[in-house]
Symmetry: C2
Subunit: 336 residues, 2 copies
């Protein structure tokens, strides 16, 4: 019989149906060539002017870099303009103020994140922290979302060159609110961090544990929405990614390289999304401030996209997952 | 500048970004052949035994029918078994009790819903009502979701023969709760139905109105999550689809045929989902009962699936839509 599992953080439910288990094959991909790639060294004129770069002393917007941050050439939100709220009859609207940046993770035409050297992945993780810190100074921006779309089936553009996306939003996302609510409710009842408790339970039980490093725990979450979904939790309780230390960045770079390499081997280069689940910049409810430092715990979600969502997911907000997380964790663990 | 629009019913936000507008081409599809199709007349032995059928006096599970309801051959939830709730450490779980049915809409190998005669579409709509009424007798079942997945990009199986899906759930979906909450809050503040107010505003403003019949209003919703998203509202306030009259079914059959035919013409046979947004069977909060008859209003959502969702949608619960609903409504209206 299948199980209907509740995600304790967001109060959504997932049907784990292991009777009809199958893992679809992913298809070969077109990775393009360096000569056509706007993210490769020497093609700086094909992107807007850089916001930040790691350079060897060279001038901005030319060669001589190892990492660049540029505005998205087709931004969905822009920094310029006033944040205006208005009504249209019964409806509400906010002007599209925000930011939409791209973090080009290497100057070479590398298409898989795990193929970067650990130090380079560390540089990417430092850049996440730097961009979040910088954008948090703009109090019009409620939330900074850092994420990766790998392969078009996960919503990536046709540019295969490895990169991350950043979108700064003028409203707090509903999923973030759900997580803050879930964490706050749990803490107010138990006086313990929900994420710390999940981490302790998973390391003790072990059947959903993929592996752990000095600073991080990698698990297949109990109510995984997607087959082979991964949750990475820092062992040290910290409510914001901005608090990550240099030692933790070095460790996390190793963890991510290992996770994505394993996922590539086991699932044959699957489409996936990576989402950095950080605290908001401005909190939507004043009473979140009182407790967020103790009850929220930043983390990373990785969601392979092997299936299409159907009318079921759209109509319910629930998910159907035909691979039990215990099985997924076992397969990933076995290939580490 | 783009607009960040709030969906007043569910309190989710959509970024309407019209500066980077483009409508992707859909590809030709493989519609299979009748000889391989488990849903075609004469192949009744390829499905589980029927739950309901419209027949010419013939015996069940053989030829002589115009519509059949059968259990899904790979059900994600099953009717048998006890509804058991249990805890796994910090987590919660419910046993997978429910139902998963398929409504085969015709005995012929027709792949587009709008190609059915209006009377046949009316038969499908009557069958929705009949199955919901029947399953509501089982008080283990909290919510009955009726939906359609058209083409694999919208999550459909490889069976192209036109059909609808039904899943009966032992928990009330989070999206349904959001809608009940939004409707209840609005009613308690205004003492008017939110959906009736939306309908009045849209028929007056007209820029998002696709068309209206005697009994139904068809609009492109203000905060459309997907390009060319459609909302169909019954003009007569009714909290449950079970209250639909025979005259309304006849009218709705005409409306659906027209909407899907137009969508086929304008978007070249797009993948889509249809979702019947009905009231729950058992209400998750006792105080919903007091007001649901006045504040909820059943409706139908149709969501073309022209783009993949990205890490942005997964991380936020928000959506990005690059076609303004005013433009979508205009294009659909122009091709009616």
């Amino acid at each position: 019989m299948s199980e209907v599992r509740r995600d304790i953080v967001t109060d959504t439910w997932v049907i784990i149906d292991t009777e009809n288990e199958r893992i679809p094959k992913t298809q070969k991909r077109d990775i393009g060539s360096s000569s056509d790639c706007p993210f490769c060294q020497g093609h700086e004129d094909r992107t807007p002017n850089e916001i930040f770069a790691v350079r060897d002393g060279s001038e901005p917007n030319g060669p001589g870099w190892t990492l660049r941050v540029v505005p998205n050439i087709n931004p969905i939100l822009k920094v310029e303009g006033e944040l205006e709220k208005s009504g249209v009859g019964v409806y509400d609207m906010v002007s599209g103020v925000g930011a939409n940046e791209v973090i080009v993770e290497t100057s070479e035409h590398i298409v898989n994140f795990f193929e970067l050297p650990e130090e380079q992945i560390g540089l990417v993780l430092q850049t996440y922290r730097r961009r979040i810190e910088d954008l948090h100074n703009d109090k019009r921006l409620r939330y900074i979302l850092v994420f990766k779309n790998h392969r078009p089936l996960a919503g990536a553009s046709t540019i295969a060159h490895t990169h991350s996306d950043l979108i700064a939003l003028p409203a707090t996302p509903v999923r973030v609110k759900q997580k803050l609510n879930g964490a706050q409710e749990y803490y107010s009842y138990k006086e313990r961090c929900l994420f710390c408790d999940i981490m302790h339970q998973e390391t003790e039980m072990g059947d959903r544990l993929v592996f752990q490093s000095a600073g991080f725990v990698v698990i297949a979450p109990y109510a995984s929405r997607f087959p082979f979904e991964i949750l990475i939790l820092p062992k040290r309780h910290a409510f914001s990614y901005k608090l990550i230390t240099e030692a933790e960045i070095k460790d996390l770079a190793m963890v991510l390289k290992k996770v994505f390499h394993t996922m590539y081997d086991v699932l044959d280069d699957p489409p996936y999304n990576l989402i950095l689940c950080d605290s908001p910049n401005l909190l939507p409810k004043a009473n979140y401030w009182a407790t967020i430092k103790s009850d929220y715990h930043w983390h990373i979600e990785i969601t392979p996209r092997l299936y299409r969502t159907t009318g079921f997911e759209l109509g319910t907000g629930f998910y159907i997952n035909r691979i039990a997380p215990e099985k997924a964790a076992g397969m990933l663990r076995g290939s580490l």
